[in-house]
Every structure is written in structure tokens, then in C-alpha cells.
Symmetry: D2
Subunit: 223 residues, 4 copies
């Protein structure tokens, strides 16, 4: 993706990006050594995350200038509210976590930091700013899973986190990430990304740093 | 609906509401005397209106505090983007108006006034403020159609606007309006409508006045 | 200003701009033939306008990425809230209009259209979008006054509107307009105006059309 | 303040409030044991905080429905942009920190969490929601300083943090906090606080928890 806007932003934030994709939380998912309590903490926070992530797509629709952009974001929003949140709830159920528990969970500071950063950046800026704040998550998870699959240290057999890895490494999610990158390039052209690259880089870097803090919150089980 | 929040707001703005529901544009739809050019002008503006109306539901999702509120608004949003806008395009096609023509149409000032008032009131205030700005449209069209059906002067046989009247007088749309009123009462309880009734009345009155201006724009074919 | 962003936008919307600057309301200010009732209607609406105009500068501060941009907008905001609104109130007082009357005045649809368009465009887009929506007013009034001064038909001696014309034609306001154009160029560079010129043109044209509707509202004394 | 809205919210979040006001960072300010590096980290982050805090007051002006509310928030905003930020810069200078250093400082996650939470809560909700998110900071700092002054463990003589403590314990800042509480009560009445107390409590609690995380960030010198 070197010639894409996403690839450009990633290259400008290479050290932070590397720390995000290869974070100890990620490595521990790959070799199965992540403490169960850390994964459960992550799962519960991720449920709350998905609610604000959905709000970010609703905000994207509000901020769109064309019906095509509105419909593109609406498809993601509907998938989140109609399917993804329910799938996540089922998945959490398989780890013994109920939806009630997740709704009662206090939002961790690292969770608030990333979700509100995305939403506030979106409110303050335009649709391109908002999408640049979102892609470290959307495309990043696809890269994390690909990276894990490629590591010798990764063990799928008997790994309790195999389902998680295979979901994001799977064709369906990889296509979602590919489509998000294509959409970002399209927006970038229309919204003057080249002339704004420094402020977009700042957004991308902050969002990536907040993703790192999110993994760390999982490891530390912090609030 | 006297004991509903909607009924309360309507009663507080009775004269404006009456002017809206029984506007000369409405009467002329009922007896079929509305000039074809006025209706076509209205239809083209209404297409642009629907785009911003969809944005208002996206904003409602962003502004929701519960998954239930998010999903409620998402259903309306999806219906608008997946169906209503296409239905409107087909309906306009039957009047010889193409989608290209509607996208090229300059937005009339009265159209901008209402749509941006709704969106800006929503941004400035909370979800209740936004919904109060929307209901004169959502519930109002159901009342307009009911009122028309009840008028001796209304003629359905051979009336070129029969399709429009029957769509809004029909069970499906009446149920939409009923549901919107119920949802407004629910929001009103949770967001402290009673203590805020004066500022909500101001929003309802302004929105109603802007609906009157919208009808007038149709009559005058103004921009 | 041909090589400025403002000059570029004006050239792209030349016909609308001409209609705005040379509107019959403007001509009638110049030769003194404007009915007193129209001017008073305009003044009362302009008071309400100034409140939302102030809100637009507050929104500009919120949307700024640098302290310098924040302070620039803050100066305008403070001038509006500390001085301009009071000056306007005094000026209206000299026409026999009280502040209470102005606060009780219903906002005309054309007034709502322009102010909410500016605010909503700002919320939906970024700081550049917001400023592009504002400059037809800020810089336009300076051009209107200059144009009036240059017309043979304009009469200052004994013209009841001489104070209004001279205020906007005066050095102080001309410098405000010049500074707004310089600031717009600066923003335009940082926010990628060249690549976004078509959507900026749409905002500028809509805002100019809504300024025309505002003059017309004055002439018609409409709500 | 037991019968104020602020007092009510504080009582509902008593345990979190206690943890905030008496946080180890605060105690270490009081007895002078706070490592200099922690205080400097805190000061640098606080500079970035003040910028977003100013944006929150700009957003308050945008979200106001009355000129009086606009002017009230404008006074705070002008004080911040014209004086407080410069005072903070001077104060930091006395600790050997330059403004350039502060502008180059990456925003810590805990800083982003609180500032963006406030701004996003404000965008999503109304003026009351926004102010409830701000008061744990505005009024909280006055309480922290009062509490410190009352502790036997607090030492002013020779304490390097004496200036900080005395600034917030001083009459001027205490009056600011008192005025903020009065303003909150006024808003609470007009915006239906009683009926919305549960969602306001959630905002107050989240904001207080994020203040705790902010102190902790100072102690840990974390990013």
C-alpha cells in the first residue's frame, strides 16, 4: 500500500505503527500466552468501543457531501449495529461474559481516549480528518492479523485466541480493510490530502498511539 | 395526542400549526388545483430535502446515549437511504423528472432554511432538541394527509396528486408518525422535556414556520 | 483580489456575486429611496443575525488547530459580543427600535437560512469550509459599501442611510475585510483549498445566494 | 454546596471524588515530596490541556441559547486566551520549560482522554452536558487547594509547589469556582437537570475518573 494515502501515513509514523502492530499484547495473542483475564478485559472494553465506533460511522454519514459517501458509511454502520455488536456479544458469551456485564463495565481511560479522540477529531475537522482517525483501527486490525499469521512464534493449534486471529486474518475482514484504504484514497483526492498531509499525519500518529494504549490497557487490565 | 409531548407542543403553537397543516399548497393538493409546475418544483426540492433529512437521522445516531436509541434512528436512516430516496426518484420519474435534474437543482432558500435549522439545532442542542425540530415534518405530513382526507373539498378521483395524498394517509406512514410520537415521549421523559418546554416550544414553532415557508416555496416556485 | 482565494471564489460565482453586491436593496440604500420600514425590518433581523454570527466565530475557535487561529477568531468574537452588538443596539435605538423588540422579533426564514447554513456547513466541514461560508458577509459588506460610494446614483447628503454606508466604507471596516481575505488565503494554503475548490465554490455560491435572499427579505419585510 | 447541582453530583460520586481530591499526586504537592520531573511533566501536559479547555469554552458559546450565556463563557475564554495561557507559560518558564517544548510535547493519553471526553460530550449533548463535564476541573481545583490548605501534612514554607497551591487556594480562583457553581445551578434549572440527573451523574463520574487518570499520568510521567 506504499502509494496509497494509508501507506503514506503509515510510513510517516513508522516507529509508532510498528509498536502498535507488534505490541506485546498482540504477540501474546499469537503464541497463546496472553492471560485470560487480560483478554476478557479487552473483550469487555471492546464492546463499549464498538458502540462509539458505530457513532463514528453515523458521524461520517452526517459529514458526507454525497449520497455515495453516505451510503458507503451507512453500510458499515448497519453492519455494526445489526451484526457486529451481536457477534461480539456471542463471542464474549463463549468466554462467559454477558451483555449486562459489558454494559455495566466502566469505560477504561484508554478506551475513552481513543473513541473520543476519533469523534472529537471528526467533529472539529471534516470527513477526511474523521476517516484518518479511524483507519489505524479498521486497517490496522487487518495488518495485525496478517503479521501474526506470518510470525514463527504464532501458534494456532490449541491457541485460545485462534478464533480472534482467524477472524481478522480471514478474507472477509481483509476485504473490509482493502475497501477502507480505497475509500480513503478517494476521499484524500477530493479533500486535498496532499496539502494537508502534516495535520493528517498528526491525527494518524495520535490515533496509532491511542491504539497502543488500548493494547496496553488490555495487558494491564487497567481502567 | 393531547397528552403527548407532541400534542403539547402543537397546542402551544396552535396558530402556526394550523397555518402549516391547512396551507394553500396543501388545499391545492387536495382539490387538484395545484399547478403542475409547483408540484414539480416541490418534488425536486424534496429530493434534496431527503438527503439532509437522512443526515439528521445520522446525527441522531451520533447523539444517542443508548444502543436502543441508536438502532431506532438507524432503522429510519436505512429506510431513507435504501428505499425512500429511490422511491422518491421513481415517483419523480413518473412526473418526468430525472435524478440528474434533481442533483443539479439549486437548493431553494426555504429548503436550506428548514434542513439546516434542524441540523444546526441538533448540533447545538441534544437528541431531544434535534427530534423536536424533526417532528413537525415526520408527524406533520401524517396530519396533513389525514386533514386532506377529511376535507369536503378534497377530490381523489382524477386528482393528479392522489398518489401523494394516499401515501401519507396510508396505514404505513400513519404508523411511522405514531411511532415517532411515542419515541418523542420516551425521549422527553429521559431528557427533561417538562423543565425545558419553553425552549422546545421555540424549536417546534420555528420548525413549523419553516415548513410553512417550504409549502410557500412550492407555490411560488422560488429559490 | 484576483489572485486571492476570495477573488478566485468570487470570479467563479460572478453572476451571483454581482446580484448580491448590486441588489435593489443596496441601490435603494445608496439613493436613499429604501422605505424606512424595510430598513427597520433589516435592522431588527440583523440584530438576531449578529448573535448567530458570533456563534460562528465561537465555532471557528473550537475548530482551530493552532493557538494563533484561535486568537484570531477570538478577537472577532470579543469585538462582536463586547462592542458590535451594543453598537448595533444603539444604532437601532436611533431608529426607535429597542433591544427588547429585537429579541422578541421572530427570525425571518431568510435569516435562519443564512445563519444556520453557515453554522451547519462549519459543523459538517472544517475551519476552511466555515470561513468560506462567512466571507460573503464579512468581505461582501466592504465591497457593497465601496460599490455604493462609486455609483453616480448614490447620494450621501441627506441620505438617511448615510451612517450605514459610511460605516462599511470606512477605513476600519475595510481593514477588517482585508484582514479576513488574508486570513482566508492563509487557511486555504494549510487546508488544501486548491484541491477542494469545487466544494468550496458550492459553499461560497450558496452563501452568496443566501445573502441575496437576506436583502430581499429586507425589501419585502418578509418573515 | 450540598444543595447545589454540583454538590448533588459530588455526593452521587463521593468515592471517585474523594480519590480525585486526595490523590497521591495532590498529597505530594502538599508536602512537597512530588518529584520535580512529575511536576514538570504535569505542567507541560497542562499547557496542552489549556488549549483544549479554551476550545471547550468556545464550544460553550456556540451552544448557548442566550446572549448572557454567550458572554459568560466568552469572559472565561478571553481570560484563558489572553491571560491564563501566557501566565502558565511564564510559570513554566520559571521551571525552565519553554513554550516551544510544550508545543512539541506529545499529548499524553490521559490528557487526550479528558479533553476529548469533555469536547465530545459537549458536541453530543447540550450546554448542560458540556458544563457538567467541565466542573470537576473548574470547581475541583478549588477544592483540591482548599483541602491541601486544611491538611496537617501540607507544608507551605519551602515547598516548591507553594505557588501552585496558593494560586488555586487564593480568593480569585475560589471566586471563579463559586461563580461556576452558581452558573451550573442556573443552567441546571433551565435545562432540566433534575429529570436528567442519572445521565449527568455518568458524565460527572467519567470526568472525575479522567481527572484521577490525569494526576496519575503526572506521577507516572506517562504518555
Amino acid at each position: 500500500m506504499g502509494s496509497t494515502l494509508f501507506g503514506n501515513l503509515k510510513a510517516r509514523c513508522a516507529a509508532d505503527w510498528e509498536s502498535y502492530v507488534t505490541h506485546p499484547f498482540v504477540r501474546a495473542l499469537g503464541d497463546g500466552s496472553l492471560p485470560r483475564e487480560s483478554f476478557e478485559h479487552y473483550l469487555k472494553q471492546d464492546y463499549l468501543f464498538l458502540i462509539h465506533f458505530s457513532r463514528a460511522y453515523a458521524l461520517s454519514i452526517y459529514k458526507s457531501n454525497t449520497l455515495a459517501d453516505m451510503r458507503y458509511a451507512k453500510n458499515t454502520l448497519a453492519a455494526l449495529l445489526d451484526e457486529e455488536i451481536n457477534l461480539h456479544t456471542s463471542f464474549c458469551g463463549s468466554w462467559g461474559i454477558t451483555e449486562r456485564q459489558m454494559l455495566d463495565e466502566p469505560e477504561a481511560a484508554a478506551n475513552i481516549a481513543y473513541t473520543r479522540y476519533v469523534l472529537e477529531t471528526g467533529n472539529s475537522g471534516d470527513l477526511l480528518d474523521l476517516q484518518v482517525a479511524l483507519v489505524p483501527c479498521v486497517i490496522g486490525y487487518a495488518e495485525v492479523a496478517q503479521w501474526l499469521i506470518a510470525q514463527p512464534s504464532t501458534v494456532l493449534e490449541g491457541n485460545p485466541y485462534r478464533g480472534w486471529i482467524e477472524m481478522y486474518a480471514g478474507e472477509e475482514y481483509q476485504a473490509v480493510a482493502q475497501s477502507a484504504s480505497t475509500q480513503l484514497d478517494d476521499l484524500g483526492g477530493r479533500y486535498g490530502a496532499s496539502a494537508r498531509i502534516q495535520s493528517l499525519e498528526k491525527i494518524f500518529r495520535d490515533a496509532t498511539r491511542l491504539e497502543i494504549a488500548f493494547w496496553q490497557m488490555g495487558l494491564d487490565r487497567s481502567y
